[in-house]
Symmetry: C2
Subunit: 195 residues, 2 copies
Amino acid sequence: MPLLPRRFDRIKSVLNRRMSNLTVLAEEVEKPHNLSAILRTCDAIGILQAHAVFKQSKIPTFNSTAQGSQKWVKLVKHPNIEVAIKSLKGEGFKIYGTNLNEQAKDYRLFDYKGPTAFVLGAEKWGLSQLATSLVDESIFIPMRGMVQSLNVSVASATLLFEALRQREKVGISPNSGEGLNTDLYNKTLFEWSYP
Amino acid sequence: MPLLPRRFDRIKSVLNRRMSNLTVLAEEVEKPHNLSAILRTCDAIGILQAHAVFKQSKIPTFNSTAQGSQKWVKLVKHPNIEVAIKSLKGEGFKIYGTNLNEQAKDYRLFDYKGPTAFVLGAEKWGLSQLATSLVDESIFIPMRGMVQSLNVSVASATLLFEALRQREKVGISPNSGEGLNTDLYNKTLFEWSYP
Ligand SMILES: C[S@@+](CC[C@H](N)C(=O)[O-])C[C@H]1O[C@@H](n2cnc3c(N)ncnc32)[C@H](O)[C@@H]1O
Ligand SMILES: C[S@@+](CC[C@H](N)C(=O)[O-])C[C@H]1O[C@@H](n2cnc3c(N)ncnc32)[C@H](O)[C@@H]1O
């Protein structure tokens, strides 16, 4: 089916607002509706690609909660958490682990305007010790209730909307393609236009 | 089983931070994991009770995503949306409907420090026309992606964390019981202590 001009314009305007320097890394987040809600939020924020590590041989599944966002936010799978974090560090990302332990700091204390990756933990266990030892900072979202944690997709949205808020405030959230380098822009435009 | 002193202290410290003047009203939000995540976020924010309208004869169900928050955030069920909104208005709440239509305004334009209720819509349809016509304001969370909407539990968390942020900024988020009147405080303390 040929690509309609209106569709192409829509695709371009969304791509113009994509950022390659903000992302999440999900460590064994397994429930389809959580993974789906996370990708859907990434799409809404303007994230180009998300990262994940899954339990051995687990293939991620999405459900209706994703609303097709898995087509617009590439999910990069890494063999294990160490490889994942090191590769993001290699690309210049500052790595923020989410943690409910004593060392973690209030997430509002940090500046997320530079290359930022939030590491999210499994529904049951949270972040692994290995992940915690590899991140640059441990952060948490203060809570005032009886329950000890937030749902992981809610936590990731809270962090991502804060990062976007900081960027919008100083006018650095992209709107004409400046969030991606030219090669990545063109490659993604082609993939999105001719899936 | 007798209530342990440590447990009682924990219950009191959470109750000391509860607010009766911030809430959500869910209109036919049906999926257990969405309803569960919404209540869990309400607990974390410090909301005393949430409100809902369900399709005829539907009984709300929660799943593991709730993590027991349904015990700590009372869900008040109303017979229909008109009764629900009118009763909240009668209690002095300003009613913000979430809407993706042309009339809706950016949620960051409003002040949520006074009595505030956010009305959330069904996963498939969003808010009913009737609800939209009854709210005081229609608001939306700006999105930058291909998908047309956020997951409803993510949207509610984004709004509630913004309301909390505004309140914390000016030091009016309660921490010693001032968010509830004495009767409500005592009644809730009793219910929480001897469930
Ligand atoms: C349900 S929680 C895991 C709970 C686990 N029992 C623990 O102690 O870490 C799943 C993930 O959600 C995120 N999360 C939940 N609550 C959070 C909070 N208050 N601050 C930051 N991240 C949070 C984290 O990524 C966490 O690993
Ligand atoms: C999946 S959406 C409903 C989508 C529906 N097709 C529509 O057009 O309204 C379910 C609910 O999530 C909330 N929601 C989703 N995205 C939102 C946004 N960007 N701003 C505010 N609320 C939103 C609203 O309460 C909405 O009724």
